[in-house]
Every structure is written in structure tokens, then in C-alpha cells.
């Protein structure tokens, strides 16, 4: 009895606070904090009100002409209503509109499914190759016996998916190979990999895209047909591979030598040790770094607009370059910004899920 009371008295756990007390301790602990909390709260509420007012209450909804929008102080969603197909598809033939939508939907479905399954290696490889083939056939049309749509007319979401997703997908294995060559390879190979990674990392992506547009056609045989979109895809792959390699290298260096030695003492060969023991741990450790590369890569896909490829940003610009609608650039950029915010936030969220998923069995850093 006395013992129990004693135990209770010396308990070191902090007194549990109610919800209100927690809020008070964090936001209103003293006068300064209260002042800033109130000020911030009021200005945040006011900004939110302005945003809602602009985007919803005072906005022109539904179809309309630019002149009709002049009566509204808020956003002119008639612009989006009028131009949504230009923004999403650019000048892809309108009678074939279902094809980019089906292709992009399929790719997204595959990515979503693989994310739910936590990226099982073999299934991911197969499904991603299938998704690429399906997207290509749907957009191009010939493999499926449909009317051919020339690559220069692949615009908007088609280009963003084609370049953004598949440059990253292809760069990932290349990055792993580069990292292995740099960390583990024989000297000359290691220097070459290091040189490649460092050179690519110190020149801007825009330069590499120009390389794909201007120099690459000169390096190919004159008889070969040349597509700017494929050259851009190649430039993006080469670029992202260097960044993936840096991320994976960090992971490889975090795997203790003992792991590898344990594998070798079991009589496993080099490839098996790397595939089954080193890489799973190295890749798990480098999830945050790779997430940065993926989000950065997806965002940087918009830079292809600079070399004249019509991604979403370029088609949005195309939509608001229409002299009639010039004043409504903000509506287009706003929608695009929200789209990027949603997609990138989803990727960040998924990376945290994956981090928790691997934390269960990962021993490095514990």
C-alpha cells in the first residue's frame, strides 16, 4: 500500500494536458506569443477569405466570354471552361481526345497500384514497361491500328506523363548502376562514373535539353529519323540518373561492410550479395534523397517548355496568349499550381509511408 503511493509520487511522467491546455502551452504561453498568434490568425483568416472570395464567391463560373468576366471581381473560370482542352492536350487532334486521357489514366492507375503494393521489384518492372508501351501506342496510334498522331502534336498531360514519369523510371536503374560503379567498381570505371555524375550535376538542365535539341541530331547517322521529344526524354534520363546515383551512393555507403561480408561468407556471389543484401538496405536508406530527386525531376519537366516542347506550362501559356483571354493568365497558372501541389504532396506523403514501411526491418541508423 505505501509502496504503491510512493510509486505514484515519484512517477516522472509529465502531467497529461487537455487539448485546450496543449493549445495554450504552444500558442498562448506568454504575451508575445499571444500577440503573434492573434496577428497571424487574423491575417491568415483574411488571406483565406480573399482567396475563397477570388476563387469561389466573386468568381465567374460556367461558360462565358471575356467581356462577361469583366462584371466579376474574382476569378474568371470561363477561361478554364473555354480553354481546358488546350491546357490539357494542346493541339492533339480533338477527335482522338480519348487516347491521351486513356493513356495517362492507365499510367496513373499502374503507379497507384504499385504504390499500394509497395513496389515489388519484378511486378513493377513488368507493369512499368507495359504502361510505357501502352501510353506510347495509345498516343502514337499505329501499333493499335489507330490513326497516327505525330509526336510533335503530343502536348500537355501526354508530354508531362511521357517525359516526367518515364524519364524518372528509366533513370532509376541507370542511377543505381552508376552509383555501384562509383562506389564499388574497379578504379577506371569508378573515375568515369564519378566524372560523369559531377559534370552532369554542375551544368543546368536547360543546357542538357539544348544539347538534346541541337547537338544530338548531329551525333546520329543522317539517315536516322530524329524526334525532339525522344531527344528530350534521353536528356532527362541522363540528367536524372546522375542525381539518383548521388542519392543511392549515400545509401550504399550507409550499409555496413559486415552485411556484405556475411553474404560472402554464406557463399553468395557478388550479384546476389548486391541484389539481395546491399541494395534493399541502401535503397531504403536513400528514400528521402530519392524523393527529392523524384519531386525535383517532376517539377523540372516543366523546363522542357524552354526548348519548345509543349508541356502543361507551355500549353497554359498558349491558352492565355490568346489576345481575348490575355488578362486571365492567373486562372490558368493557379489551376496548374494546385495540380502540381496536389501531385507533389501525394508523392511526399507516399515517401513517408514507404519510410515507415522499411523502418520495420531496417537496422541501419538504429
Amino acid at each position: 500500500m505505501t509502496e504503491a503511493i510512493l510509486m505514484e509520487e515519484v512517477s516522472m511522467a509529465p502531467p497529461s494536458l487537455g487539448r485546450w491546455q496543449t493549445v495554450r502551452a504552444q500558442f498562448f504561453q506568454n504575451r508575445t506569443a499571444t500577440f503573434w498568434t492573434v496577428l497571424f490568425g487574423v491575417s491568415a483568416a483574411y488571406s483565406l477569405f480573399l482567396l475563397l472570395d477570388w476563387s469561389i464567391f466573386s468568381a465567374k463560373w460556367g461558360p462565358g466570354t471575356p467581356a462577361a468576366c469583366a462584371d466579376y471581381s474574382g476569378a474568371c473560370w470561363a477561361f478554364i471552361w473555354e480553354k481546358w482542352s488546350v491546357i490539357l492536350l494542346g493541339s492533339f487532334p480533338r477527335d482522338q481526345m480519348w487516347r491521351p486521357f486513356a493513356g495517362v489514366g492507365l499510367v496513373l492507375a499502374v503507379l497507384f497500384l504499385l504504390a499500394r503494393l509497395r513496389w515489388p521489384a519484378r511486378l513493377s518492372t513488368c507493369l512499368l514497361i507495359f504502361a510505357f508501351a501502352a501510353l506510347f501506342s495509345l498516343l502514337d496510334g499505329r501499333p493499335l491500328g489507330l490513326e497516327q498522331v505525330n509526336m510533335v502534336r503530343w502536348h500537355g498531360i501526354a508530354v508531362v506523363t511521357f517525359l516526367g514519369v518515364f524519364s524518372l523510371v528509366a533513370a532509376f536503374p541507370l542511377g543505381i548502376l552508376l552509383a555501384l560503379a562509383r562506389v564499388d567498381g574497379p578504379p577506371v570505371l569508378s573515375w568515369c562514373a564519378a566524372g560523369y555524375i559531377e559534370v552532369i550535376r554542375s551544368i543546368p538542365l536547360v543546357m542538357l535539353l539544348f544539347f538534346g535539341i541541337f547537338v544530338l541530331p548531329l551525333l546520329l547517322p543522317a539517315s536516322m529519323s530524329y524526334e525532339p521529344l525522344l531527344a528530350t526524354l534521353l536528356a532527362l534520363i541522363l540528367f536524372h540518373a546522375a542525381y539518383f546515383a548521388e542519392g543511392v551512393r549515400g545509401g550504399l555507403q550507409a550499409v555496413p561492410d559486415g552485411q556484405r561480408e556475411a553474404g560472402e561468407s554464406l557463399g553468395l556471389g557478388y550479384v546476389t550479395v548486391i541484389r539481395k543484401i546491399v541494395l534493399p538496405q541502401a535503397l531504403s536508406v536513400s528514400i528521402p534523397a530519392m524523393t527529392n530527386t523524384i519531386i525535383g525531376g517532376l517539377k523540372d519537366t516543366s523546363l522542357v517548355a524552354i526548348v519548345g516542347i509543349f508541356d502543361l506550362l507551355a500549353t497554359t501559356r498558349m491558352a492565355y496568349s490568346d489576345p481575348e483571354w490575355q488578362r486571365f493568365a492567373y486562372e490558368g497558372l493557379f489551376v496548374l499550381g494546385v495540380l502540381y501541389l496536389v501531385v507533389c504532396t501525394a508523392i511526399s506523403h507516399h515517401s513517408r509511408v514507404m519510410e515507415q514501411h522499411v523502418a520495420g526491418w531496417l537496422t541501419i541508423g538504429k
Binding site: 567498381g185 536547360v206 539544348f210 517539377k299
Partner: protein
């Protein structure tokens, strides 16, 4: 006795028996394939160039460029050479990069500190800012800023002005400028004033240096202000005000609209990333250091400036180097709003001369040189700042 065929196969197998031998074989195989690709590419290049009747060479760089450049830090006209045009572009890139480095550092340090503030709303606001920037493409931010400025700024003749010194219009921002007047320094009065000023400066310099630990804020900054002030007083340096004449502003310095929008968007974009670096650096400083500062009775600001930041700086330098090189690279999006940076001038030159190989080589080397130079400089700084353990 084995036949010669078997012994050859056996020998080949022996060659690959150790791991080292296998690795070597793989290495030479990979290098051979890469080398072959390079040779094939070069052969195609030569063939394609021959078919076009042109040849590799850098002689064309000295030819007359024939195009104008929106803004330049050195005198330049369409009659100058391509080489000079590329130099103009390089200087513009550097100018933009340096301004963005300074501004994003200021934003980043401020936001990074606030993010760890005990006042939770600051932390929440800063986190919101960092996350938004992380999830938006820089080109989108640039276009949004540019469109905003183009739509909202008035025409040059209706320019908004602050004290008749700064003019804001859709041409950009016109600021008062400082101009060096060499002729003044060559008169007797000028000479005497110059020597007196120099003597005064050295005196103040030595006085300040002996009394302060922080050289940047207590020494270099006041010294620069003093030099400019003395120059203005004695007439070596003339202050020029922008004036609206005819259709345009004359005098002073013009910050063009593309430059302004690039500075705003890149500083805000990279400020968020710098803030994350700063936060990481500060979190690496042990809590005991802050508590020790509190125990000594230092204020929050003093603890930040004198205890936390100097120690956090050591952790921050390598990732910060990375950030600065990124800023340099990202100035290349200037082409999208028509800023005459290196990439933009390279693009114009390629379109005029169709010499992509040479020009890309030049531009890539410039980026490599600046990037490597900045890395070497910051690495040296890093070595100097690291704690010397004796």
C-alpha cells in the same frame, strides 16, 4: 595433353577465375562500349558537318554578332563579336546569381530561425512557405511573378515614384546610380582630398579592427559606407537620379522587368531550400549550448547570433555550397522571360551561326568553371571554419 582449342578455352576461363579479373574484364568491356559509342558519335558528327559543308572551329566567335542584347553590364553593341556577346551573357548570369545568393541567404536564415522559434505560429507559417515552394516548379513561380508584374505595373510615363528617386513602371525599377568621376581626382583639390580620405579611412579601419570580433558588420560595412560617403562629399562619386525624358528614363540604374521577376522568384524559391539547410544546421547544435547561453543571461537574439549560428555554420557550409551552385544553374530559366543570360545568348548565337557543338562546349565550360570555382572557394572557407581540434 590437351588440344590447343581446349587450352585456349581453359586459359580464358583462368583469366576470369578471380573476382578482380572479372571486374577488370567488365570494366574494359563497359569502357569499350562507351568508347565505341563516342567514336561512332564523333564519326557521325564529322560526316554530318561535312555534308553541311561546315567544319569545327572557334574562329567564328570573333565575327560580328549583329544582334542586340537587352541588358549588359559592359558596353556592347550589335557590331561587337560573338565572344563579347557571350561574355555579356556570362556577366549577366553571374550578376543574377550573386544577387539571388545574397537574397535567398537572407530569406533562408530568417525563415530557418523562425521555423525553430518557440512561438508556434512562426514555425507553422514558415513550414507552410517551405512546403509550398518545395511542391511548385520554379518556372511556374517565375511566370506567375512575371505576369503579375506585367499586368499590375503602370506605363513608364505614369511610373510610381518614391521621393522622386525610385521609379517603378512596366520597364522595371529605376534606381539612383553612383558614377565614378575620375577627372575630379586629377585636380589639386581632388588629390589632397583623396589622400586625406585615404588616411582617415586607414585610421578608422585600424581603430575599428582592434575593437571588434565581427569583421563584416563592424569593419567592412562601415568602411565601405565611409568610402562612398567621402567620395560623394569630395565629388569623386556622383549620385545620378533617374529622369523621365521623352519616352524613357535616363540616368541612374535600371533594374529590368525580367531581372526583377527572376530575382524575386529565384530568391523566394531557393530561400525555402536555404531555410531547410539552416534548420538542419541549427538542429545539429546541441541543446546544452542554448541552455548555457540562457544561464549566462543572454537574450534570444544574442544566443542566436553569438552561440547557435556560428556553430551551425560549420554544419551548413557543404549543403549551402550545393544550394549556391543550384542557384547558379537555375538562373538558366531566365530565357523564359527574355533575360539575356548565358544560355539565352548561346541560343541566339546558335540560331544565327548554327554552330551548336562549339557554342555548347563554350557554355558548358563556363558553367563548369564557375561551379568548380565556387566549390573550391567555399571548400577553402569550409576548411577555415571547421573547429580545430588540438
Amino acid at each position: 595433353m590437351t588440344t590447343s582449342g581446349e587450352s585456349l578455352a581453359g586459359r580464358l576461363r583462368l583469366l576470369l577465375v578471380t573476382r578482380k579479373a572479372r571486374q577488370n574484364a567488365l570494366q574494359w568491356l563497359v569502357l569499350a562500349v562507351v568508347g565505341l559509342l563516342i567514336v561512332l558519335g564523333l564519326a557521325n558528327l564529322m560526316g554530318n558537318l561535312n555534308a553541311k559543308g561546315s567544319q569545327l572551329g572557334f574562329g567564328f566567335l570573333l565575327g560580328e554578332s549583329g544582334f542586340d542584347v537587352n541588358e549588359s553590364m559592359i558596353p556592347y553593341s550589335a557590331g561587337n563579336s560573338y565572344l563579347r556577346a557571350l561574355l555579356v551573357g556570362t556577366l549577366n548570369t553571374l550578376h543574377l546569381a550573386i544577387v539571388c545568393v545574397v537574397l535567398s541567404t537572407v530569406i533562408g536564415v530568417f525563415v530557418g530561425l523562425l521555423r525553430l522559434s518557440e512561438i508556434r505560429v512562426f514555425a507553422i507559417a514558415c513550414r507552410l512557405y517551405v512546403e509550398t515552394m518545395r511542391n511548385l516548379p520554379k518556372l511556374l513561380i517565375l511566370l506567375a511573378v512575371y505576369v503579375f508584374l506585367v499586368i499590375n505595373l503602370p506605363l513608364a510615363r505614369d511610373a510610381v515614384t518614391v521621393l522622386d528617386m525610385v521609379y517603378l513602371s512596366n520597364r522595371g525599377v529605376n534606381l539612383p546610380g553612383l558614377r565614378l568621376d575620375i577627372a575630379q581626382a586629377l585636380t589639386l583639390r581632388g588629390g589632397v582630398l583623396f589622400v586625406a580620405g585615404a588616411a582617415l579611412g586607414v585610421g578608422v579601419w585600424r581603430w575599428a579592427r582592434a575593437r571588434t570580433p565581427s569583421r563584416v558588420f563592424a569593419c567592412y560595412l562601415p568602411a565601405a559606407c565611409l568610402a562612398v560617403g567621402w567620395g560623394l562629399l569630395s565629388g569623386f562619386i556622383v549620385l545620378e537620379m533617374p529622369q523621365f525624358k521623352g519616352f524613357n528614363f535616363t540616368g541612374g540604374n535600371l533594374v529590368s522587368l525580367p531581372f526583377l521577376s527572376l530575382v524575386i522568384s529565384l530568391s523566394v524559391y531557393h530561400g525555402a531550400q536555404v531555410a531547410e539547410v539552416v534548420r538542419g544546421g541549427i538542429q545539429a547544435v546541441e541543446r546544452g549550448q542554448v541552455e548555457a547561453g540562457k544561464a549566462l543571461g543572454l537574450t534570444g537574439g544574442q544566443i542566436s547570433w553569438l552561440i547557435v549560428l556560428p556553430q551551425a555554420l560549420r554544419v551548413m557550409i557543404p549543403p549551402m555550397t550545393n544550394q549556391y551552385v543550384n542557384i547558379l544553374k537555375n538562373t538558366s530559366i531566365g530565357l523564359a522571360v527574355g533575360y539575356s543570360d548565358l544560355v539565352s545568348i548561346m541560343n541566339t548565337t546558335i540560331n544565327q551561326t548554327f554552330r551548336p557543338v562549339e557554342l555548347m562546349l563554350v557554355a558548358m565550360s563556363v558553367y563548369l568553371l564557375i561551379g568548380v570555382g565556387a566549390s573550391i572557394g567555399l571548400n577553402a572557407f569550409n576548411r577555415r571554419m571547421q573547429l580545430k581540434v588540438r
